[in-house]
Amino acid sequence: MATDRSPRKVENPDSQIGIYVHIPFCEKKCFYCDFYSIENHSQREEFIDSISREIRHFSETHNPLAADTVFFGGGTPSLLKPADLEKILAALHDAFRISSDAEFTMECNPGTIDTAYLSDYKTLGANRLSFGVQSFFEDELRFLERIHGPAEAFRAVEVAREAGFDNINIDLIYALPGQPIDRLTTNLEKAVSLETDHISAYSLIVEPGTPLAGAVAEGRIVPATESVESSMYEIVMDFMAEHGYSHYEISNYAQGGFECRHNLKYWNAEQYAGFGPSAHSYVDGTRWWNVSSLAKYIARLKTDEAPVSAREKLTPSQMLDEFVLLHLRQGKLDTDILREAFGLTIDRDMISGLETAEYCVFKDGVISLTKKGFKVSDGIAETILAKHSPAV
């Protein structure tokens, strides 16, 4: 059982903070997406001012922190004019000590790539690009309401390489309603043919509040069944392994050394500071998140008010929950750390039950998920935590 004392720090004490910047604009909002973004770009300049102000506020209330990852997400960061990016970066450099070898990612829409922009991003320090490719089929892209076509995905990666980027990710979405298996395989083959070092492959999630969720509720769209999703997930895992990508998180695969260092901070309970509407931060055991409205965000910062929507100070038990959940998502749970940091000893019978059912392998104190285990990783976290968490 977990004890009452606070968990010892589980992260590396030397670890540096990660910086996230949320760009809340899209040319067109995709109907499955639940990230905050808007199609009206009229407040772009006020946004740049506001976010600079927010970053300055952070620096006024925190000692200068060393940062080693920067991630521009959205929305569509590739809509940012280089001059705007420069302004935001200037504010960030004032507030943080960003190391020279920091990982600096820009999310890009293959449909809004501008060669000149990419070169300028590179000059400004960006060294990693992440493309929302999703599919190589015209009809699937249309279904997803993407603004690009299959050819543009290839071109985007080519242009990126020409601009000097060698650390590139492409996102794929699978288990679309009615998607045949061979479509998935074709998408995977085309994806690896681009020879990027990182691929994220997500099954389509019906997020509450999205137009997709509405269509599902009305019966206009029938999502893939649990069994189809499960089979497709297995195909993705097999395919990636065959092509030399290591499976380092539920939906993420990388060639050696190209794991996304920024995302790993989320999963390893390291610190991150998020700026822009809806951005989340986690510093000193407290998580907070900004309002999901550009108008409110701008209004708050105009009056020098924090644009924070809510905060939470994690209790030891919540830290434990997140630790187990997020480490299982990475396929490995170190029971020695659980014991040392949280005072929790996992029931051996339960582990051997999971082993017998081939959900995991237990060796040297580490629970390693099998493919079957990855598919039910959340269920395994529930099972472990329901049995071990102290009663509240």
Binding site: E226, I250, S278, R287, E312, L325, V376, D378, I380
Partner: protein, 603 residues
């Protein structure tokens, strides 16, 4: 304070649920000035929240009123409230024994119901004078003439003797009060005779211990008397004696014919049995009052804390509960499926529901209840006789010569168009048809003999739905009869779940096994492991279902903005898992333990 018995009237009100007993009681209190209108909380006599919600009186109380009658005399009225339900029929009978008369209230729009009839018979048997009252005459749906005929048939009164009233609209209240004076005889008995007082109720007061409600039949009871409780043989010192107004009013003594209370340093309710006789231990009467009997539980069920660490809390709650409800019996038992809990005996179904609900509400206990069952008399081949109140404890078939189960006489009153439905339901429940009589041209009174076990499962709900809510139902223990009964076990992944074992008739075993496993398949969620559900008689499996393991339970995306949301989801799932019971590796939701109860809905 000496009171002439000539000026005392002891009476109760008999009515079916919702026919207006409580409202009428309120009106009498108001009209006699016992309570002002302003002080009136609706339905004063029902002071437990659950009672008010259900419109039923669970525990009887008594209250004294003073009424200046038209003849110029001031009378003392003792209104003794009676629990209206069959489960408490013994308590009803003791309350009736404390009265000389009863006001029979029948709803003008509903007419005579099953409970009215059984309670009227109890009152007539007790020799009570009956004042028939038709209530709610101001309702547009009132059928005053029809109900008059029913009453004439039922109690043999004259139509002219029936009073018409609306307690709600304050119509006919004076006439009722005058009828109490005129029609109900004053109590007999001599204040000089040796003391004999009937205990008709008792309750536990956390400051004073047990407060006993009594009717003095003979003699006089005074403060400081040494009193003997005849049945238990215990002697106590009378600490306080008085009458029951809105509060207890100490009077120092109570004389023959009066109703009041006695506090005598009694610590446990079990020492003051309802129906027992209080005597003076220095000059005890020759014989106790007639009619005492032990109250026996009829329905049994296991009560378990939802979380095993709350066992001690449940034990404390039951102990406290029993202070106020001597009829509740319980003893610890252990279930391999549910851990430590209690086997509880109840007077009947309503009593069981009330206990469970009040434990949850008033004692804040989350409880898993096993399917209710009756007590079986098992005659073993060795000749040994066992009383089995827990199906899990049924001996193996080879050891059993035969099994007997309790039967009841059931009385169902319903509009005649539903006779067919009622017949079918009773036949399905192994009923033995006795006869049908007609209360009037539209309503039938149907009698069946039914195994009690067949009515503890959802019988009343079924009856109501098959008669569009028009049927009323009452039952009474009849006898024990030999039946072809077998124990049906449920196995999850090969382990017998003792809390799901039931005793069923052999002819129904296959159907039940099939329905129960299919029901459980729907109630048990998919898990990480396959779940096999089997129904078996002894070692013979008669039904099998399986729940395939969950194939995918992970959300694809989890970045900075998702973590809190996902953790909250996880916390919710965890809480859900905690409410489940772990049987082997299978997590079973609490509803599953009551699966049998909803079996008849299964197609």
């Amino acid at each position: 304070m000496s009171l002439s018995p000539r000026l005392i009237r002891n009476f109760c009100i008999i009515a079916h649920i919702d026919h207006g007993k409580s409202t009428l009681a309120d009106r009498l209190l108001e009209r006699t000035g016992t309570i002002t209108e302003r002080e009136m909380v609706d339905q004063i006599l029902d002071d437990m929240p659950l009672e008010r919600e259900r419109g039923i009186t669970i525990k009887s109380h008594a209250i004294q009123m003073n009424y200046r009658a038209h003849d110029g005399n001031s009378y003392t009225f003792n209104l003794i409230d009676t629990p209206g339900h069959v489960d408490f029929s013994y308590e009803v009978s003791r309350s009736l024994a404390a009265c000389e008369g009863a006001i029979l209230v029948v709803d003008a729009s509903q007419g005579v119901e099953a409970q009215t009839i059984s309670n009227v018979y109890l009152a007539i048997d007790a020799g009570l004078e009956i004042i028939p009252v038709i209530n709610k005459i101001d309702l547009p749906s009132a059928m005053v003439e029809d109900v008059k005929h029913q009453l004439v048939d039922l109690i043999g009164c004259k139509e002219s003797e029936i009073l018409l009233a609306s307690a709600k609209a304050k119509i006919g209240i004076d006439e009722i009060l005058e009828a109490v004076v005129a029609m109900i005889p004053p109590p007999s008995g001599s204040s000089d005779a040796p003391l004999r007082a009937l205990i008709f109720d008792a309750k536990y007061d956390s400051y004073r211990g047990v407060v006993t409600y009594i009717r003095i039949m003979d003699g006089t009871l005074r403060t400081n008397d040494k009193v003997l409780f005849h049945k238990t043989g215990k002697v106590f010192q009378s600490e306080e004696v008085g009458v029951l107004g809105m509060e207890r009013v100490p009077t120092g003594e109570l004389e023959a014919g009066n109703v009041g209370y006695l506090i005598a340093g009694v610590k446990e309710l079990t020492e003051t049995r309802v129906g027992d006789t209080v005597m003076n231990s220095e000059s005890p009467a020759d014989s106790p009052l007639p009619g005492y009997r032990e109250v026996k539980p009829m329905v049994f069920s296991g009560l378990y804390p939802a979380q095993s660490e709350h066992f001690e809390e449940l034990r404390d709650a039951l102990a406290k509960f029993k202070l106020n409800d001597a009829a509740l019996l319980y003893e610890p038992e252990t279930s391999t499926a549910l851990g430590f809990g209690f086997r509880c005996g109840f007077l009947g179904l309503l009593h069981m529901e009330i206990v469970q609900e009040r434990l949850e509400r008033e004692f804040d206990q989350t409880i898993i209840t096993t399917v209710p069952n009756v007590e079986y008399k098992v005659v073993k081949t060795s000749g040994e006789i066992l009383l089995v109140d827990n199906p899990a404890e049924m001996p193996s078939p080879a050891e059993i010569d035969h099994i007997e189960e309790p039967y009841v006489t059931a009385q169902i009153i319903c509009p005649s168009e539903f006779i067919g439905n009622v017949m079918k339901l009773c036949m399905d429940r192994r009923g033995v048809y006795k006869n049908t009589t007609y209360i009037d041209t539209k309503r039938a009174d149907i009698r069946f003999e039914l195994p009690l076990a067949e009515i503890v499962f959802d019988f009343f709900d079924k009856l109501k739905s098959m008669t569009r809510g028009y049927a009323s139902f009452d039952y009474e223990y009849l006898d024990n009869r030999e039946s072809e009964l077998v124990k049906l076990d449920i196995l999850l992944n090969g382990d017998v779940v003792d809390a799901l074992s039931s005793v069923v008739h052999r002819d129904k075993a296959y159907e039940w096994g099939r329905k129960l496993s299919s029901r459980l398949r729907k109630l048990i969620p998919k898990q990480l492991f396959e779940v096999v559900i089997q129904a078996a008689i002894g070692s013979k499996v008669i039904a099998r279902e399986s729940i395939s393991p969950i194939r995918k339970n992970v959300i694809a995306k989890c970045y900075g903005g998702d973590i809190t949301r996902k953790r909250k989801l996880l916390e919710k799932q965890k809480e859900g898992k905690k409410r489940m019971k772990q049987i082997g590796r299978v997590e079973v939701p609490q509803e599953a333990f009551l699966a049998v109860l909803s079996l008849n809905d299964e197609e």
